[in-house]
Symmetry: C7
Subunit: 256 residues, 7 copies
């Protein structure tokens, strides 16, 4: 009966996983992005494997207990000693359980996928693998970080839908702010005119003046909504363009 | 009987959710702001879904246990092993449970909604989604942050009813404070005279002198109560106006 | 019988709440400050509501268990599974319980009320609402903070009975301290002579010399006991008056 | 029988409290300082109230359980559900219990009383009230702090028996240390000659040379054992006297 | 029967371990790197030993309990006292259990092996031994660190597949960026032309301009993907080459 | 029978305490230092009191339970409610239990005694009292600190057997190191020649050159093993002597 | 029977301890270093004592329970109250249990022995005693530190097999790096030629150029593998030799 039971559970899990996977193929016919579909399939497979293992272990343990009970073996000592050990293990294993639960929810919520640039607070880099217990991230120096999912307090995904290229520009305290603003705007226009980088602009850029006035100078800020993962290239280009334009306009640049 | 029971519970939940939702439509006929009504409906739906799932799981588990008990299966080993596993899971799942409970109370208390600008201490940005386990926030750089609700120690909502545009102005230590105060007040008046920004003023602005006297200079402070989300534009305008007026009044501005 | 029991409990709670509330009306006939009375009534209502809900839930749960027991339903599986879930919930809900318990004691001890200016360490502002789970505080920038009561490690109420306007004055290291002290005392007198601010003085002000001698200069300190919430205005006036008097006395002011 | 039991317990508690209180009146006839006696009586009253309430609650609960048991009500569901709730409450209430236990021990050990100047690490001020759950402290700015007793990691009582007025004096690196030490000693003598401050000296003051030699200068240090709460006045007087004497001795003072 | 049971379990463990080990020999015939094979065998042996000990202890304990039970000894006091001690031990042993569980998963996931250069946050060095409870790491000063596996929050393996030699180059704020970039590129080419270091280059190097513009200067950055453990030699060579080329190009180098 | 049992336990405790105490009188006839003997007796008394109270409470509780059980009172509700309360108390009291256990082990291991100068990390001073729950320490300013024993993470006893007077001497970067070393050695010799301080020297002093070479200068270091509590006087004398000798040798002293 | 049982356990423990100890005498005939043998014997004795005490306590407790059970005493109240107390004690004693378990594993893994120079993060010094609960370390100032083994997060043993004498040398930014490197190499050779220090060299020293280029200068680094505990003397000699050689080579030394 238990074998039957286990088979039933596995079938149900498979169905759910397959349903979850195909949902993206039928429900959103137009929007089927192969990358998204692949990511969805991957997640379905990862979760299905885990659910199946868990079900097998649970069913197996119960089967062993039932068989032993039928053989007339007194289970009390087993269970009692299991209780004592269970407490010790329960405390020690709590971070393990937390890792798996956090990983499961992260997968279900699709917080990040392989290839995303992610900021985990202590580690910042590109996701190499998303598993249930650990996430592998490769940082700028090529170091491969293994992060336990339960330890990840917050996730900042920098490549989701869109990003902002933000460049704070500080000019000298006695600068002509009108000329500075005009020069900065010309710099933004020149970057937008670029063949490659201009295509990454998603919305009209904004230039704000007066974010701060300190002894160092007056701060303007440029903000450009770009395609994901393009913000760093745009920021670099903006800094260089602002430097050139402000020099032409005879405004002293302090930092950008 | 359990099916009946489950149906009864679901009906009750639906009624409560619908009642909670319509309360805003009848109880406060005049004040029905469509945004508020939508937000309320959204919250009612989110909470209703969760309550219904929870009820189904509880009723289902009890049903399975009862059926197995009626079939003469000895439940002791199940329950005992469940106890051992329960301890391990209980410890590991505690942050999960905490996330959901925190999320539920945050929703009930309506601490923030989609579109609010919120300060979570470590992350500062615009709320993109409020779920029961995680809150999604988009910061100024466009990074999408996933924050676990149980980890959010404090919530600072910057767009609730009103805000203060506060600009601390530091003038040189040997400045004529009377002239400085007059200039700053003229600057505030000029911003209030602005067609767009002036409309955001909710109360007469205040200008205080003497907040601090240090080696850097003497600090004045301007405070303007504005409509929510307008405080940043007002602050920028105030800084620029103060800079212009102080220059005209021959008072050295250190920072603003 | 349980309905009777519940009715009895509710009546007792009402009586206690009403007694607690009226205590301030009869016991201290002369001192009945309407603000204090309103605050007391508010607290009585808040606590009464909570006590009544708790009593209803407890009595209801017991009733359901008794009825099910009388119907011959075997409660063992219910209770056993409740135990397993209870552990998981208990861990997850502990901060929730802590919030409510902390809130209850804060209310009973009347640590702060609506309108008080309070320093919570991480957040500093005016209390907008005191609830059992969260406290709402509005800071100087108009940000509305939601603080969980259990997370509030310490409460500093700045508007309770009286406050001190403390201004540390640092004069140049080679200054004539006698002249400096006399000038500072004249400054304090001039503030005390002010029609509005002088009325806030509760005790004769003190001026101490020699709090510190460093490379920056010699520190004097002025301390004035004022009415609550008046200390900031008095401090500002003191700083300006000290600046004027020290200039007249030819003593170099470093900071105040 | 339980009423009798409760009466017996209350009598015992009263006796202990009274004995504890009168112990100071008979056991140390000569040393009976009215302040100490009042403090002891206050503590006896506070602790007696708590012990009596606790005893009443315990006896009452047992009584209710026994009566219900005699009425033939099956207590199993009560106790089982109490167990589940107990876990949740136990976790949430642990800091509450910790507060009360810490407060009880603090009172018994008489760590500080009303009027003492106490350093709690994060808060420093004068104790206004010592209760079992919270301690009220008023700091220099007049802010009233509510500190939970269980959160107080360490207590530094600055007004217990005696205090040290310690003034580190730094003179220029190339100063004549003999002349400096003589000048500092003259300064100490002049303070000790003061009518008021000299009476606070409990032991002959010490002047040490060579505590540190850095690029800033050479450090001497003065240490005077004073009556409690007098150390701050003595320190101020010492700093001013040292400044005057070193100037007369032509030694450059860096800080004191 | 238990001896049989224990034998069966040991056989199963041996088979799994051997299977796990040989998997690398048959499944990937071409890729069999002797280092990888040795590492795999080592891990199989470590895990096998542990599994066998655990199985023996579990089977042994159950056997003793069963034998005692058959001898008619009442096991209740044993188990009850074991429960009490179990709680105390369980709490104290939780970090121990956590260490072993973390170590087991680290081994299974092959996060690092003997000889890898690893960044554990607080300690950085070369792995000397990977055991189930502790990891031994030798840092640059030759200090041998013993780190408990459960305490290792995150693992950064710097010698996995590839690494990046990243050198941020800051030139003077008024430098000719075109000339600077050309010089830096020439420097990279000269290192790539080196017989030894050039062989470590895995991809064409990149030179980005405009990573930051501050008062210190303008930042360029060089990034070279290298073979693992070669990044430090390449970085040193890059710094020296950049220094020489920039001097030849008359561009002021601030830091590299 | 229980009275007998309690009497037996108390006798055993007394014997152990007396044996522990007299051990120092017979076992080490020659080395019997009266201070050590007094300290040992003090510790024996403190521990004996605690053990006797604990035994009385345990025996008393069991007696009450047995008597009530013999009277036919059903103990189940008592014990069950005690279990619920026990969990709440257990959590709240854990730091209390930890304090007492830590204190007991500190006493047994004789980590510090009254009069020792001890560094507890956050507090540094002279031990005034060693109790089982708290340790009283008086710091340099005369503040009396109450530290909970369980909170004391580490204990640094500065007056145990011997101490090192360590003085790092930094001379100008271009100084003649040979002359500097000779001058420092002469300074050490002059201190050793002192009647009082020389007697505190336990081993020949060492002078090392080259501990660090920085922009500030070159660091030498003097280290003298002294009698406990003499290290501070020796350090002060060393600093002054080094200053004088280096001035005579025309070597610029930066710090000491 | 229990006496027999206890005797059997003690014999087994003795055998294991003796076997563990003699293992070093027979298994590795050639390598028997008397220091290592003594250390091994010491560890065997420490662990044997503990194991024997533990076994006696366990057997004794069970014996008492069995005897009481045979005398017809109802053990339920004992065990139940033990359960309640056990929870409270279990929580409070967890750090104690953790200390002993950590100490046991540290001893088994031989992480450090008496006389080793060890870096515990917060404390750095020479090990004076390794016990099961605390480790005694004497730091450079002669302060004796008592560290609880469970609190020791990581252990850095600086005297295990070998050490590295690492000296980072910073020369002026415009220095001739070729001349600098040659001079540094000459300095290393001169130290290696020293009779005492040269014998501590275990491998040919390395000199790397270009570890960092900053505004301060260019960094070279010398690394010498030395015998344990010799690294500090070698470092000092290297610094002085580098200073001399660079002066001879007319290269400006910034720090070493």
């Amino acid at each position: 009966m238990l074998v039957l039971f286990r088979w039933l559970i596995h079938r149900t899990i498979d169905k759910i996983a397959r349903g979850y996977q195909s949902e993206s193929l039928t429900g959103g016919l137009l929007k089927v992005d192969p990358v998204v579909a692949e990511r969805r399939a991957q997640r379905a497979r990862t979760l299905g494997t885990v659910l199946r293992s868990t079900a097998s272990i649970v069913v197996g343990t119960i089967a062993v207990l039932l068989v032993l009970g039928d053989l007339g073996v007194d289970l009390a000592p087993f269970i009692a000693s299991a209780g004592v050990v269970g407490v010790a293990l329960g405390f020690g294993a709590q971070s393990l359980v937390k890792d798996f639960l956090s990983g499961t929810f992260m997968l279900l919520e699709d917080q990040y996928g392989v290839g995303d640039t992610v900021d985990f607070g202590v580690v910042h880099g590109t996701v190499e693998e998303v598993a249930l217990r650990v996430t592998k991230v490769r940082d700028a120096a090529g170091t491969l970080w293994y992060l336990r999912n339960g330890d990840i307090a917050r996730v900042g995904n920098q490549t989701q839908e869109w990003a902002n290229a933000v460049v704070p520009v500080v000019v000298a305290a006695d600068a002509d702010l009108g000329a500075a603003q005009a020069a900065v705007r010309r710099a933004v226009d020149s970057v937008q005119a670029d063949a490659v980088l201009g295509g990454a602009f998603l919305e009209p850029p904004t230039v704000e003046v007066g974010d701060a006035i300190t002894a160092d100078g007056v701060q303007l800020s440029v903000s450009v909504r770009t395609r994901p993962a393009m913000q760093w290239d745009v920021q670099r280009a903006l800094r260089l363009a602002v430097r050139d334009e402000l020099r032409d306009a005879d405004v002293t640049l302090v930092s950008a």
